[in-house]
């Protein structure tokens, strides 16, 4: 149901152990006209070169507050207890509409915003830009946003270079249709999690004391001597800025069904440089709405935190050069802090349609902060199979000769 002058519902802080404590991240945020402080224009967009907002008329530039400082997200993780979530990370209310109607604060006309695609719209009467910055419980407005700093021209170069190195076996239709200029800037939704945990790990480790060869029949075989130890490690661990996709489309990373792993690969982002959410950062870019809640994302985040713990404790296991076999791993999450964020990605996408009519979406993605690039290029299967067959033929001849002479 469309609503006028959207008022975010107040979310009371709760103190029960399992329910999250919500801290507001949209205090002072206003919907409607966001004006340039110098000339009053609403034609505001991101200057990618500086990461600041810039007025389209007077060229005045300014930056929004750093979100980490504004929300005290770099506070001591060891003091975290229970679940703390930013108001933009709260559970999505299923009944909340994706279409919202605003009353233009300049002329009073009603303007519709489809929050599935954007949180901005232009008044069709007075041409002012209207922004939605207050959070409605539909996942459209996150707690913070990380502005683009890699320019489109740089992303185009990186994508062209990535694909250029993979042209020989690329599908001919893809080669003909590829145009790196078709890249799009997209803000993708993520949850950024800090975790305070206590871990106790019990198992066995082996340290090699000797390595030697023995003769078995007419062959030489390697043998090892080792000391076995019972190993216990107990410690506190703090995980900072663990980042998890919060759109169900991106969460699915089955590589036989999609190439979402490509977008996952370009992480991590420097989320510590995120700013408080302001719709003006979205001007000229597209965005994807969060549609996953904490209860869906917690298992993934906790399993990943356990992975981090397991790998981190390896720092204290250098003596066990033959490895460690953990028999019990207890990671007790004592505190966690969740904030939702829009993170910037340059995306080149290509829909491959095979002869049976099935389609597969390939991506070449560029992290718009670090420039890290990864992609999936559709293969010309028959050409690859032909060349692999030739390689196999030549290899078989060489292999048979080598085996015959005992090499």
């Amino acid at each position: 149901m469309p609503t006028d002058d959207v008022e975010p519902e107040a979310q009371p802080a709760t103190s029960t152990e399992d329910a999250p404590n919500v801290f507001r991240t949209d205090d002072g945020a206003q919907d409607g006209l966001a004006k340039c402080a110098r000339c009053g224009a609403t034609e505001i967009s991101l200057n990618v070169a500086t990461g600041n907002l810039r007025c389209g008329f007077c060229r005045f530039e300014w930056a929004t507050d750093n979100a980490i400082e504004a929300f005290n997200l770099n506070g001591d993780i060891s003091k975290l207890s229970g679940i703390l979530v930013g108001s933009g990370s709260s559970d999505i209310v299923p009944s909340t509409e994706e279409i919202l109607t605003f009353k233009c604060s300049a002329c009073g006309a009603e303007v519709v915003i489809d929050t599935n695609n954007s949180t901005q719209a232009r008044c069709h009467w007075c041409r002012n830009t209207l922004s939605m910055n207050q959070q409605v419980p539909n996942g459209a407005v996150p707690d913070m946003i990380l502005p683009f700093t890699v320019e489109k021209s740089t992303a185009v170069e990186k994508i062209a270079s990535f694909v250029g190195k993979r042209k020989f076996f690329a599908h001919p239709k893809f080669r003909a249709e590829f145009n790196a200029e078709n890249v799009m800037g997209v803000y993708l939704p993520y949850m950024v999690v800090d975790i305070n945990a206590h871990a106790r790990m019990t198992g066995e480790g082996e340290h090699q004391t000797r390595s030697y060869t023995v003769k078995v029949g007419d062959k030489q075989e390697q043998r090892y001597d080792a000391d076995l130890f019972n190993v216990v490690r107990e410690f506190d661990i703090q995980v900072n800025d663990l980042t998890v996709e919060s759109s169900s489309d991106r969460l699915d990373q089955n590589t036989s069904q999609n190439s979402n792993n490509i977008i996952n690969t370009i992480m991590p982002f420097d989320v510590e440089n995120s700013v408080r959410y302001d719709s003006n950062y979205l001007a000229g870019f597209t965005s994807e709405r969060r549609d996953s809640n904490l209860d869906q994302l917690s298992p993934i985040a906790h399993t990943q935190a356990e992975d981090i713990t397991r790998h981190r404790v390896n720092d204290s296991l250098a003596f066990y050069d033959r490895g460690v076999r953990w028999t019990a791993e207890e990671v007790d999450v004592r505190g966690q802090r969740w904030v939702s964020a829009y993170l910037p990605v340059w995306l080149y996408s290509y829909q491959q349609r095979n002869s049976s009519g099935k389609t597969f979406l390939h991506y070449v993605a560029v992290n718009a902060r670090t420039g890290e690039t990864m992609g999936s290029v559709p293969l010309h299967q028959s050409k690859l199979l032909l060349v692999a067959g030739v390689v196999q033929l030549v290899g078989t001849v060489i292999g048979l000769v080598l085996v015959a002479v005992g090499i």
Binding site: S78, R166, E206, R223, Y224, D225, A226, D227, F229, N230, V232, R233, D236, I237, V239, N240, D241, L242, T243, Q253, N254, T255, N261, N264, T265, M267, P268, I300, Q304, D307, I308, T309, R310, H311, R312, N314, D315, F319, R322, G323, V324, R325, W326, S376, V377, P378, L379, Q381, L384, A388, G389, V390, V391, L393, G395, T396, I398, G399, V403, I407
Partner: protein, 100 residues
Amino acid sequence: MLTHFAWMTASGQLIAASSSDEGSRGFGLVFLLSGFIFYAAIYLRYRNVDKRHKHESETESAMFNMQETNDFVVSKTGLTNSKIAGANNNVVRGARRKFF
């Protein structure tokens, strides 16, 4: 196609393992599977299905108040494997990439 590819990769790993076990004789066997290995290498280079964010090492973390216990149990001799059986201190369970 992916099953076919998985089989080839597994074969490649098998051959690689056998080549290390049997010394120089495995070198000839690797050539006998060169076409499959070539296919797998190109597939990975173009499609990058094996790539993912390495959250376990790329996420910032810190340990505090470490308490360590290392109790000697027994000395073993004549072991054939270079690694402890069932080593799991490097496993990753939170990767959502489904490769095979």
